[in-house]
Amino acid sequence: MAAIYPLTFAALLFSVGVYGVLSRRNAVLVLMSVELMIAAVVVNLVAMNEIVATQMGDPLLTGQAFALFVLGIGAAEVGVGLAIVLLLYRNRANVNVDDAELMKY
């Protein structure tokens, strides 16, 4: 199988995720976009694992192991992220990212 397919899939997911992160107003939607980006990274890791294994063999399964770690970290991130969103909502009564501009000049 040509290696380019999963890699392109990952690139597509990542770019779409970036678009979502930049353009969405709702914080929950931003979080979802982040999930997309993480998924893209995981796809890339798994694909790379296979590419490396094909070329020189990889007894440690580095890519897959890392993919698993990223999965775990992604789950943790969603948990904390949603907690922050909840807090944001509680303090401001909405979850619009561009209303959270306390850092403005």
Partner: protein, 666 residues
């Protein structure tokens, strides 16, 4: 060797001061007992040390050819190394001069302690007062015993601050605050000179130890110019501390403090520190004719101007204050010509002037006022005070055979022997000064003790705690002059050889007794007494203002000066400076310069602060700040607070960088 224990002499009052401050309030006599016990112990020690020094000094055979042989004990521990090969040493230098000062300080201080028990009775800050007295005694004795100029400077400044605190003892009142400030700052002005002198002598000789400095100076290791500079600078310190013309203005104001303090600090001990310092460095001073000449001129001017001022005082303490200044002038002038003359006058004056101040305190205590207008006729009410005061006055007037006669006579004789312009000047002015002294003291005696009582209180004799010290000091005032009779047998066995730093000295400079001169001086003094008697014996019966209108030339001057003086009290003196009295004008002008310098410095400081500091330097700094603000206002627009915009920018950066790496990498 009891002299080895001399360090106890300042140590005992130091411990006493600490104890009084710490636990004095809880004791039955509120700390007074500690101070008196300590000073009594100090006096015993001082006498023992003095006796040993005396035995050592009179025991040696005097060799007319060479000097040396005088008792000198130097012990020092290094207090701290300062530089490569210079250190400050905590040590003692006990010789005749120091032993003499021990006795003088310890005795007068003990008397003042005892006297204060009665005088300060019931004061709110009684314990604090005794603590300060002990602290002062310690400081003065430290100054005396110091073997190192820096330690001497420590004592010098400490007595200054004790004086400041004691003058300002009743600090609630503005004029008392001002007086204490004036005293401290005027002497501090002199201290600038002293500090420069100490630094210069230390820098030139590589040591601050007095012994090393004297050795180096006598060996000619210090260049003449530098030595003269250092000594003149030191004379500035002497002038400030010993209230010499033109820095004498603080001493009369210092009378605002409690009277026993005036007796101790402003008559017997602290103000003589200047004379002591000159005596301490006497060999160095005599290497420089310019320095001794300056001393002589300053002393002569002081003794006559201050004596004239004393004529016109109505406050009994101020008469004594001006008299002190005048007598200090004799001392300083005497030191310019003869070691023994100056030191001897310092010694005798300490006793009889302390006595006079204690007497004045007793009078004030009884009459409730400082002013002689409110006294009169007190002889009947206060016999002990009268007799002791009379004896003190006779000593001051220099009536033979009282103490002052012998010492003042030596000053005049040594001046005449030295000759030269300065010698003649001191001799002539000193003679006239004797007349003036006699006049004003007689005036005080008449105004206070003769005639009818003019005050409003109920005058009464002071308690025993006050009269006892006066009696002791009166004995001294009568007899102390005999220790240095101008007879060779006495000279070799008594004061002269006792205080000598070099036994050969007075062999080379024998003090001669000129019967004719002594007679002249006595006649002058009696003339002063008679003049005053002629004027004042009728004072109480006549209207003072009317009386003032018909007096002789000298008293005519007094009239204007007295006017000025009253205005000075009421702080409107400036206008009356136009008055014809030269002495007063000088005094007021100099006083104005001191005050004006202070005010000018204040104004300069304010102006410097307003224009230089707040506008000039600040402006530059603020300008930088403003320009930073201006650019910041533009840059900050990028900080919209929109997180997503930031993230977008980040990704743009990532893309650009990745492209750059991808392209550049190939």
């Amino acid at each position: 060797m009891i002299a080895e224990l001399s360090w106890l002499i300042p140590a005992v009052p130091a411990v006493s001061a600490a104890l009084i401050f710490l636990i004095g309030k809880r004791l039955p006599r509120h700390g007074a007992e500690i101070g008196i016990t300590a000073m009594a112990a100090t006096l015993v020690l001082a006498i023992a040390v003095a006796a040993q020094v005396w035995r050592a000094n009179v025991g040696v055979t005097i060799d007319p050819e060479g000097g040396g042989g005088a008792f000198l004990l130097e012990r020092a521990v290094t207090l701290a190394p300062l530089g490569e090969d210079i250190a400050v040493q905590l040590g003692m230098r006990v010789d005749g001069l120091a032993a003499m000062m021990f006795v003088l300080v310890a005795l007068v201080s003990l008397m003042v302690h005892i006297y204060s028990v009665g005088y300060m009775h019931g004061d709110a800050r009684y314990t604090y007062y005794f603590g300060l007295l002990s602290l002062f005694s310690f400081s003065m004795l430290l100054l005396v015993i110091a073997s190192d100029l820096l330690v001497l400077l420590v004592g010098w400044e400490l007595v200054g601050v004790c004086s400041f605190l004691l003058i300002g003892f009743w600090w609630e009142r503005k004029e008392i605050q001002d007086a204490s400030m004036k005293a401290f700052l005027t002497t501090k002005f002199g201290d600038v000179g002293l500090v420069v002198a100490v630094v210069a002598l230390g820098g030139a000789t590589g040591s601050f130890a007095i012994g090393d400095i004297l050795e180096a100076v006598e060996a000619g290791e210090v260049s003449h110019g530098l030595l003269t500079f250092a000594l003149i600078a030191m004379i500035l310190g002497v002038v400030g501390k010993s209230a010499q013309f033109p820095l004498h203005t603080w001493l009369p104001d210092a009378m605002a403090g409690p009277t026993p303090v005036s007796a101790l600090i402003h008559a017997a001990t602290m103000v003589t520190a200047g004379g002591f310092l000159v005596a301490r460095l006497y060999p160095a001073f005599h290497e420089s004719a310019a320095a001794t000449g300056t001393l002589a001129v300053i002393g002569a001017i002081t003794l006559i101007t201050a004596g004239l001022l004393a004529l016109v005082q109505s406050d009994v303490k101020k008469v004594l204050a001006y008299s002190t200044i005048s007598q200090l002038g004799y001392m300083i002038a005497g030191l310019a010509f003869s070691y023994v003359a100056g030191v001897f006058h310092l010694f005798t004056h300490g006793f009889f002037k302390a006595l006079l101040f204690l007497g004045a305190g007793s009078l004030i205590h009884a009459a409730g006022s400082n002013h002689m207008e409110a006294m009169g006729g007190l002889r009947r009410f206060m016999p002990i005070t009268f007799w002791t005061f009379l004896l003190g006055s006779l000593a001051l007037i220099a009536v033979p055979p009282f103490a002052g006669f012998w010492s003042k006579d030596e000053v005049l004789v040594s001046a005449l022997d030295a000759g030269g312009y300065t010698g003649i000047l001191v001799f002539a002015l000193g003679g006239v000064g004797g007349l003036i002294t006699a006049f004003y003291m007689t005036r005080v005696l008449y105004l206070v003790f003769a005639g009818q009582y003019r005050g409003h209180g109920q005058p009464h004799e002071s308690p025993a705690s006050m009269t006892f010290p006066m009696i002791v000091l009166a004995v001294a005032a009568v007899g102390i002059g005999w220790v240095n009779l101008p007879v060779e047998a006495v000279q070799a066995r008594a004061f002269s050889s006792w205080v000598m730093y070099d036994l050969g000295y007075w062999v080379e400079h024998p003090v001669e007794f000129h019967p004719f001169l002594a007679l002249m001086a006595t006649v002058l003094a009696l003339a002063g007494v008679l003049g005053a008697w002629a004027i004042y014996r009728t004072y109480p019966e006549r209207d003072p203002m009317y009386h003032l209108g018909i007096v002789s030339h000298v008293l005519e001057r007094r009239y204007y000066l007295d006017d000025l003086y009253t205005d000075l009290i009421s702080r409107t003196a400036v206008r009356d400076l136009m008055g014809p009295a030269a002495a007063w004008t000088n005094d007021a002008v100099l006083d104005g310069v001191v005050a004006g310098a202070g005010r000018g410095a204040m104004g300069l400081g304010r102006r410097l602060y307003r224009t230089g500091d707040q506008k000039g330097l600040e402006g530059v700094v603020n300008g930088l700040g403003v320009s930073a603000l201006w650019s910041a206002a533009r840059v900050r627009l990028a900080q919209s607070g929109n997180v997503q915009l930031y993230a977008g920018a980040m990704f743009v950066g990532v893309v650009v960088l990745a492209v750059a790496f991808a392209v550049g990498g190939n």
